[in-house]
């Protein structure tokens, strides 16, 4: 039922995306768990991704945000077809690639590329930078004008590395430089879509901005669509035109940047936004709400019934346990801003009367601190 409601409305009115490049419907990945003795059999499944709907327009950059372990990487790997989906449908440029084999995929393979999280394991230590960037071209039989080596040097220059680094080995580079090499490799095939799986989270904070800027430059100059995966909203903010928030294998809220950052409706988005550190800096500006969640993300092996966020939600009611909220456009939201919540929050991020502090320990600490101030009694 949610399908009808969500899909037509999914396309964000960001102006940049005119036609859909990638459409993902009900994407599901369950990793089986085997156990038992002496005969191993399937005893359960990690529901890493469970019915994700997502679209990426041509040249559009979409952020995918969520806590660690909520299935972001799995989603990215499913889209790049590194993993086989359990269910759902992936459509790339009108072509169903959900279960395409390596050979069937060949024509679009070069158009969907990936940038990896760990710059230390994403480059083969035994190959030179030149070989690393060149090999996608070799695989796909691409002969650029002036030869592959020339193209590699151009790419190195494009990502801000010295073209003379051609014959160097990855161990001679820093993390940020390695990530640039990874970007150059992804660009070698002139892709139309790049899935960037937390491309900067392994980097030093000072270098994160440089790499994000590089990606932004690449995105704008070359018109490549990006699915930018990150675990907090801060990095995605400047990069993405649209943002999808994931929680425990599901997209809980999706919308244009403006809506997500300034008019969020889902409690979890509120919590994520409240965790963005830059809020604390502009003290004299408008006071923003403060939300501290308690506990960990529940196990994806046995996710909560109904709304998956209900175990940590301050607005949870009985309905949340029994009925799964559909991803729909709430009244008052802009087109393309979809939320999956029965009792959505107000579309504002301003400070509320009372902070939401779910962590009992933190709450006790703050209460005692408040008590101690007027200690004049006795």
């Amino acid at each position: 039922m949610s399908d009808n409601l969500t899909l037509p409305a999914q396309q964000g009115p960001t102006g940049t995306s005119t036609e859909t490049l990638l459409a993902v419907e009900g994407l599901t990945k369950h990793f089986p768990i085997y156990g038992g003795f002496p005969i191993k059999r399937k005893v359960g499944a990690v529901q890493a991704v469970d019915g994700v709907d997502l679209t990426v327009g041509v040249g559009e950059s979409v952020g995918l945000v969520g806590e660690s372990g909520c299935g972001k990487s799995t989603t990215g790997r499913l889209i790049t077809r590194l993993l086989e989906p359990t269910a759902g449908k992936i459509t790339y440029a009108g072509q169903d690639i959900t279960h395409a084999s390596r050979r069937q995929l060949a024509p679009v393979r070069s158009e969907i590329q990936m940038i990896f999280q760990d710059p230390y394991s994403s480059l083969n230590p035994r190959q030179t930078v030149g070989t690393i960037i060149k090999s996608p071209m070799e695989v796909n039989g691409i002969e650029p004008e002036g030869g592959r080596e020339k193209k590699v040097r151009e790419l190195l220059e494009l990502v801000g590395l010295n073209p003379e680094h051609y014959n160097r080995f990855p161990h001679e580079f820093s993390g940020g430089q390695r990530q640039r090499i990874g970007v150059a490799r992804a660009l070698a095939l002139s892709p139309k879509l790049i899935v960037a799986d937390e491309p900067v989270s392994a980097l030093d904070v000072s270098i994160q901005a440089q790499v994000v800027n590089l990606l932004q430059k690449v995105q704008e100059e070359l018109g490549i669509a990006f699915l930018f995966i990150a675990h907090d909203l801060a990095i995605v903010r400047h990069f993405s035109q649209r943002v999808a928030v994931m929680y425990l294998g599901k997209v809980v809220e999706v919308g244009d940047r403006e809506s997500i950052y300034n008019r969020p409706r889902h409690p979890y988005t509120h919590a994520l936004l409240s965790a963005v550190p830059e809020v604390a800096v502009d003290d004299e500006g408008e006071q923003r709400e403060r939300i501290r969640l308690a506990g960990d993300v529940p196990s994806p092996i046995a996710p909560p019934s109904g709304c998956r966020f209900r175990t940590r939600c301050w607005k949870a009611q009985d309905k949340c346990a029994s009925e799964e909220p559909p991803l729909i456009q709430l009244s008052g939201n802009r087109g393309g801003h979809l939320t999956a919540c029965h009792f959505p929050e107000e579309p504002t991020t301003e400070a509320r009367d009372e902070d939401v502090v779910m962590d009992p320990a933190l709450k006790a600490l703050e209460d005692s601190a408040a008590d101690e101030a007027p200690v004049t009694k006795d």
Binding site: R109, Q113, N124, R126, Q127, G160, N162, Q177, Q210
Partner: protein
């Protein structure tokens, strides 16, 4: 599509980039030619005195073994002539009436540099040179064969995983369950009898083939396991996924991405495997199921040495010392190679 013109000019912008500035500065003098992990390993290895010395010794042994015919031409002896019994050499007796070598230290003389064998009077120097040749090249053959087998099986199991890996693992376990030494002894006659009519004399080349087959069949498992576990961890690395995303075939991934990364463990394993194979071959001959009379063989020299130990202990000296030095150096070399590959491990 890519537009290098739009990219910031490489000169000043590179220097501005703090993370780039350091490396470009540091590498100014020696041209921008990166050093591969292999070259770095070689440099570390060259700094290791013990390793270099042992490598020298090991190479020396192989050269000696290769040039056995030359060396025996120099000494003017050969491993087959019975200098004690052959009437041609009656004018220069090498054995006394009891069949023991005449002269000092097992009959060491200008003619017989390492002395002679009791009873027959064969020249020990020639026997040792030729014996080393037999052993070293047999061992080299066996080691190369079982390494190749192990690498192939390990690669297949490790890369494809799942059911393939499961069954390969069970077969490996099955072969590992054999008590090796016992089976060498028990299998050698069986393999020989299988191909050669017991009535006839077994040709020497066939004994060599039989040794090769038996050692090969019972020896590939260690290598397979090592390669499998290395590949298993490599397979999960993101550069393999990157290759998959670019559309590379499994064959290309194994060849270009995985194989170059298992070279170091393979090389280290090789330097440990070869000496142990030499010992195993020697053991086979010693136990009487390897090479037999009159084929000169290192292991057989020990068997004879044990026989003569009471009357002529000197006979054991030269083959024994040669073996101890060789095995010791080869193992030290193995340690050095390992340290050079992975400076953090060991010590």
């Amino acid at each position: 599509m890519t537009s290098p013109t739009k990219a910031e000019g490489s000169g000043p912008s590179v220097a501005l980039d703090p993370e780039l500035a350091s490396t470009t500065e540091a590498d100014k003098p020696k041209k921008l030619e990166g050093r591969s992990p292999g070259q770095l390993m070689w440099q570390r290895f060259k700094r290791d005195r013990t390793g270099m010395l042992c490598a020298g010794v090991v190479i020396f042994y192989f050269v000696i073994a290769l040039s056995a015919p030359l060396l025996t031409a120099l000494s003017g002896t050969n491993p087959y002539t019975l200098y004690g019994q052959d009437p041609t050499y009656a004018d220069s007796p090498v054995l006394d009436d009891f069949g023991l070598p005449l002269g000092w230290f097992g009959g060491v003389s200008g003619d017989h540099w390492f002395g002679v064998e009791p009873q027959y009077g064969r020249d020990l120097f020639a026997m040792l040179m030729y014996g080393m040749r037999t052993s070293l090249f047999m061992a080299l053959g066996v080691t190369v064969l079982l390494m190749l087998t192990g690498i192939t099986i390990g690669l297949v199991g490790g890369y494809f995983g799942g059911r393939t890996d499961y069954w390969i693992g069970r077969v490996t376990d099955f072969f590992l369950a054999f008590p090796q030494q016992l089976f060498f002894i028990a299998f050698m006659p069986v393999v020989t009898a299988f191909f050669v009519d017991p009535q006839e004399e077994t040709p020497t080349y066939f004994r060599a083939v039989a040794i090769l087959i038996v050692l090969w069949l019972l020896g590939w498992m260690g290598m397979a396991r090592l390669v499998r576990s290395t590949v298993l961890s490599l397979r999960e690395r993101e550069f393999v996924e990157a290759a998959k995303v670019s559309g590379a075939s499994p064959w290309r991934i194994v060849r270009k991405e995985i194989l170059p990364n298992v070279v170091s463990p393979i090389l280290v394993q090789f330097t440990y495997q070869l000496p142990s194979t030499i010992l195993t071959i020697a053991f086979l001959s010693f136990a009487g199921v390897g090479f037999v009379e009159p084929t000169p063989d290192w292991g057989r020299l020990f068997a004879s040495g044990a026989k003569y130990a009471e009357q002529d202990p000197a006979f054991m000296f030269f083959p024994g010392v040669a073996m101890v030095i060789f095995i010791l150096c080869f193992n030290l070399l193995g340690d050095s190679v390992r340290d050079a590959f992975d400076p953090k491990s060991g010590r």
